[in-house]
Amino acid sequence: MSVKTATTTQFSAEAVRALSELLDEPGWMLDLRLTAWRFFEEIPWPTGTEETWRRTSLRGFRLENYRPFVPDVLTEVEAEADLETIYREHLAELVSAGELVMDEGRAFYHRLDDTLAAKGVIFTDLHTAVREYPELVQRTFAQQVPLDANKFAALHYAFWRGGTFLYVPRNVEVTLPFQTLARLSQPGAGGFYHTIVITEEGASVTLMEDFFGGERGFHAGVVELYPGPNSRLRYTHVQNWEPTLWNFGTQRIRVPRDAEVVHLIASWGSKLSKVWVTLDLVEPGARGQLLGLYFTTDHQHIDHHTMQNHRAANCSSDLLYKGALKDTSRSVYQGYIKVWPGAQKTDAYQANRNLLLDGRARADSIPGLEIEADDVRCTHGATAGQIPEEYLFYLESRGLDRPTAERLIVAGFFQEVLERVDNADVRRKLETTIAERLDVDVADLGLEVDNNTDHNG
């Protein structure tokens, strides 16, 4: 494959065409990409005066510092055997119904349980899905997060590469989780993973995605979840990027009649992260939980912007975002509950809790409510505080040194979110990432005591 250097080193319409050609895509996808590129050019760069950008600055971010894609990823990456070892080690931590491993958007390991495949479950990378299941992809791709949702979503759609496509047919219930590992191995490259999960009526599924790598990189991702009526969808997004990466994400979930969704984002990595998560409850009986975990260190800046849209009656949404902050790091949480006219009997909760482990860290919480129905129950709250000295003294009086006492309290602080994750394997995997973030072996966190009784293995 020969692609002119200039077209692959700068973001441009030519680069969009070159990427589409490299991926050997159908015409409709190229058209979509070019439309998105035009949106990207039209949407102004955030200036910091927009409400969503007031507390998160893009100073220091230069798009021209990144390559839009890596054409020769095959030859540039380490030997596949090496990679496979790394990924197998990651994957071994979780017993799953299927695994998908990608690097720089290219899938190179993929497994789907045979019996699930026979039932019509599709679990593959999105490029394969575009070729093999065009109707399903066209029905869903960019249908929830529009091409012009924001500047970074537009850029994403112009240059998207790689991602997970998971489809579960009617009444198929998958107990084991699916797992995706998405890596960026090339320093200074842009990454654009896209996730689509569809559950048909009465189906049930769990997907856990792990994003990592991306040294001096930048990532603009999109996640679209499509639970069908009366289905159950659990999605866990673990953001473990290198601390030199700029991360932007737009995630959206549309929940129909009697469906239930649990969406969890764990933001551990990146230099700066700005993620929009929107939950639309569109038919009666829809239920959604939005969960968030973050632990920021050094100069990290993590910004979550959530929206709970109650568009129909008898729906419930429950949001809990908990973060611990160290050093001079900073978190921003902006959350909005909107109850539309006619959405009676709405139950909506929203809580953001922050634990400041350092007097220099800062957590901003901006909750908001807009209620246009009269028979609703809505509560929201935000807190930020340090570990009470009495907690530390109590634990120290039992022989724990201060770092151990702090780690135990932070792990306990996150537990309130973890206990809402009903899949034990996913919970264990999250605990492992928490332990990594706390710089301690997961065994030393001692959480196995708690898990022991509900572990079937």
Binding site: P388, E390, L395, S397, R398, D401, R402, A405, V449, T453
Partner: protein, 266 residues
């Protein structure tokens, strides 16, 4: 040889306000002492200072464990040296289970560290799960705590009596040389006091020295002290045998005030 905890002419306070004004007290391993006194006499301050609470200041005097000063030691070091405080108001720590907390504490106090081979540490720095579970089950039985508490969050939503029993469970697991029980009977009804006292009685023996701090005599109906001390205005003003507690019960603290109030003011 039995260990000795000695409080020697201790002057201490908080934010420049002197509360302890020359406390002397010696406790040997295997002995039970009661420290009684009216509210505000400095009993709880003494308990906190023995454990090393960072808000309190020691102006002069010393606390010696087997002849070595512990004043420079952090609370966790004191715990590892064999000192234990059962809190009057134990804190609740949401998200941290009783079992995990105790496993961490037992491992720290007993100095567990991971085995190492050429490639680094093998296993964890915690007491092995099997061993720990067995010990915890036994200790819970001993102090009368339902096994289901192991998975509950530490003191979170516990009743007053459950919190105090949890303190005694920790005492059972950590096996210190000296335990200070700070108003362990306060806020409990008589059944709860008896239950907690029974737990303590199962733990006493030649390996444990206990200082029972209490306002009321009633807990001493269940825990028999070898010595009774009366604290008033920052000093131990009276010491005697178990009969002293009964005398106090009869005469009340006004009797102490009348006897020692003037002397202290001077």
């Amino acid at each position: 040889m039995a260990s000795v905890l000695e409080i020697r002419d201790l002057y201490a306070g908080i934010e420049g306000q002197e509360i302890l004004k020359g406390v002397n007290l010696t406790l040997r391993q295997g002995e039970i002492h009661a420290l009684m006194g009216p509210n505000g006499s400095g009993k709880s301050t003494l308990a906190y200072i023995i454990m090393g609470h960072p808000h309190y200041e020691v102006y002069s005097g010393d606390i010696l464990l087997d002849g070595e000063s512990i004043l420079e030691m952090a609370p966790d070091e004191r715990a590892r040296a064999g000192i234990f405080l059962a809190f009057q108001y134990p804190v609740a720590i949401p998200g941290v289970t009783v079992a995990n907390f105790l496993r961490q504490a037992v491992s720290a106090v007993r100095g567990y560290t991971a085995q190492k081979d050429e490639e680094g540490p093998v296993g964890s720095n915690l007491i092995p799960m099997r061993e720990f579970r067995k010990e915890l089950t036994e200790a819970m039985q001993l102090v009368g705590i339902d096994p289901s508490f192991a998975r509950r969050y530490l003191n979170d939503g516990f009743s007053g009596g459950e919190k105090k029993r949890m303190e005694i469970l920790q005492l059972a697991m950590l096996r210190p040389k000296f335990a200070v029980l700070d108003e362990t009977d306060s806020g409990l009804d008589i059944d709860a006091v008896r239950a907690v006292a029974e737990g303590v009685n199962r733990l006493v023996g030649p390996e444990l020295g206990v200082l029972v701090i209490t306002h009321y005599q009633r807990i001493l109906n269940y825990i028999q002290p070898d010595r009774v001390h009366v604290m008033y205005d920052g000093r131990v003003v009276l010491s005697g045998g178990p009969e002293l507690a009964l005398q106090l019960e009869e005469k009340g603290y006004d009797w102490v005030r009348q006897q020692f109030g003037n002397a202290v003011k001077a």
